[in-house]
């Protein structure tokens, strides 16, 4: 046991491991807060679609040769979030088909571009790390960490200040509109924040696994708890603990960070679901 502790202490003397921990916990916190709303509003698919768009945007950024890939990824993902939200509300166009189309399209074109134009010697490795986030969390620079802290602060502030309005729009959009809440503007805000979180989370778990970070903690909390506030708090706690556990385990056993965190989330979900099934008997 002390041996394990010493190993951890050794690893955490490196700044990049500390950065990974800070960023990982912040991303886990933000994504789980928003996850509750997204799952309840039946918007989980937007998270999935956006993560693929972000991958496509990153491919373009790499091909163009930008050192700061955020310049392209952030605006493209935010704009896609707004567009996807529009199609999701428009019943004339099949919302789910539109999302599937955009996300798979972005994935295919992105991979193609990287393959054709990338100057890197290890294309497969690059792609794998963008999709599954295997290394990028450990190569964060100090400025990226600050960017992440800033964005997390914005997300938290928005969520706390708009908490009551977000609840109303999530539970009953028609009633909320009737009482004078600008529901469309609020939906837009939720979509933009979702896009921000997804771009941030790409560093942590990679673009394919982001949805797991958004969905699993929310679903776990919902299976057991009976008020919106407790679901939100529980989901945040689950997500932060799973992220911490995932990062520690991956450091100790050199497993990929992203999939270790997601596995922890799945394990918690399984436990919560089992408990709720037993309670219902």
């Amino acid at each position: 046991m002390t041996e394990l502790f010493d190993t951890l202490k050794y690893y955490f003397s490196f700044p990049f491991v500390q950065y990974a921990m800070i960023v990982g916990l912040l991303i886990a916190l933000c994504s789980s807060l928003l996850g509750v709303t997204l799952v309840l509003k039946r918007f989980s698919f937007i998270g999935d679609g956006l993560s693929h768009v972000a991958f496509g945007a990153m491919a373009v950024a790499i091909v163009v040769g930008l050192t700061n890939t955020m310049v392209i990824i952030l605006p493209v993902t935010v704009i896609s979030a707004i567009l996807l939200l529009r199609t999701g509300q428009n019943t004339k166009i099949k919302g789910d088909a539109a999302v599937a189309m955009i996300s798979v399209g972005a994935l295919a074109v992105g991979y193609m571009l990287i393959n054709l134009f990338s100057k890197s010697a290890n294309v497969a490795g690059d792609v794998c790390s963008t999709l599954f986030g295997s290394t990028s969390i450990l190569t964060l620079t100090k400025s990226e960490v600050w960017l992440c802290i800033g964005m997390a602060a914005v997300v938290l502030a928005v969520f706390v200040l708009f908490y009551n309005r977000i609840f109303a729009v999530t539970f009953d959009e028609n009633f909320a509109k009737a009482t004078g809440i600008k529901a469309d503007a609020l939906n837009l805000l939720i979509a933009v924040i979702t896009a921000l979180i997804i771009v941030l989370a790409m560093n942590l778990v990679g673009s394919l696994l982001i949805s797991a970070l958004i969905i699993f903690p929310a679903l776990s909390a919902m299976s057991l708890l009976r008020s919106f506030r407790s679901v939100v708090i529980c989901s945040a706690v689950i997500s932060v603990i799973c992220a911490a556990a995932g990062i520690l385990l991956s450091v100790l056993f050199s497993t990929p960070v992203g999939s270790t965190i997601v596995t922890a989330d799945i394990a918690v979900f399984a436990v919560f679901k089992t408990v709720s099934l037993i309670k219902e008997r």
Partner: protein, 238 residues
């Protein structure tokens, strides 16, 4: 009795296309107006217009003194999202106070008191910490009524409130709404249920795209539109 809503030769619709026109009716303080009509007759467009979510395309809707669309407490139809929503009764009821929030982010003691009072009014204080999805259909409608009355005490607009309730819960809900009406709250109820008109003081019947009848209930029962609707309804029930 002062008028709260006066609708004069109004045409309603959205995105440039007219859904229903020639609407002429009014609601006075203490009225119980029942709006009848088949699906697609423009009832939901009328609701949205009364709530201030759509404009009037031609004609006019005038509001009484000290009255506006914000003074209407709304009881929408249930959505699939709500059936498995993890929220406590208290959280839902107090969300009716959002219109009183202005630019503040959080509720104050006055709003929490209002929510408690309205829960007591509908006898759901014991359920305050229960989860909405565990309640019966009738209890859920009481929660939504309490929420609507947190928003306003002047007028309630109910959209097909008895849909999905068992017959006994339907009668209980109708009696409850009649009691609120007796306390001075104006009621507008949208329905295609023939038993809804029993409690109403006025009827507005919308046919395909235009108004078929507006007037008191007694006049409606003897009118041509009323007789054909009632006969069709009775045939349905048999």
């Amino acid at each position: 009795m002062s008028k709260q809503i006066i609708c004069h030769n109004a045409a309603l619709g959205y995105e440039g296309s007219v859904v229903v026109e020639e609407l002429d009716f009014s609601v006075a303080e203490g009225d119980y107006l029942c709006i009848l009509g088949e699906n697609g007759s423009g009832k939901s467009t009328l609701i949205k217009t009364l709530l201030g979510l759509h404009g009037v395309m031609s004609g006019s809707i005038e509001w009484g003194r000290d009255f506006s669309s914000r003074d209407i407490g709304y009881l929408p139809q249930q959505t699939p999202v709500q059936r498995d929503f993890p929220a406590s009764v208290r959280e839902i009821v107090i969300s009716g106070c959002l219109s009183k929030l202005g630019h503040r982010p959080f509720f104050r003691a006055a709003e929490r008191k209002l929510a408690e009072d309205n829960m007591a009014r509908f006898g759901i204080t014991d359920l305050a910490d229960s989860c909405y999805r565990d309640l019966s259909g009738g209890q859920q409608q009481r929660v939504l009524l309490a929420r609507a009355l947190c928003a306003t005490g002047k007028m309630l607009l109910l959209d097909e409130p008895v849909t999905g309730l068992d017959p006994r819960a339907q009668i209980e809900l109708y009696e409850l709404i009649a009691k609120l009406n007796a306390e001075g709250i104006s009621i507008i109820m949208v329905s295609h249920d023939i038993s809804a008109i029993k409690y109403a003081s006025h009827i507005l019947h919308i046919g395909s795209r235009r108004q078929l009848f507006f007037g008191s209930k007694d006049d409606y029962i003897t009118s041509k539109a009323g007789r054909s609707f009632l006969e069709a309804g009775e045939a349905d029930q048999e």
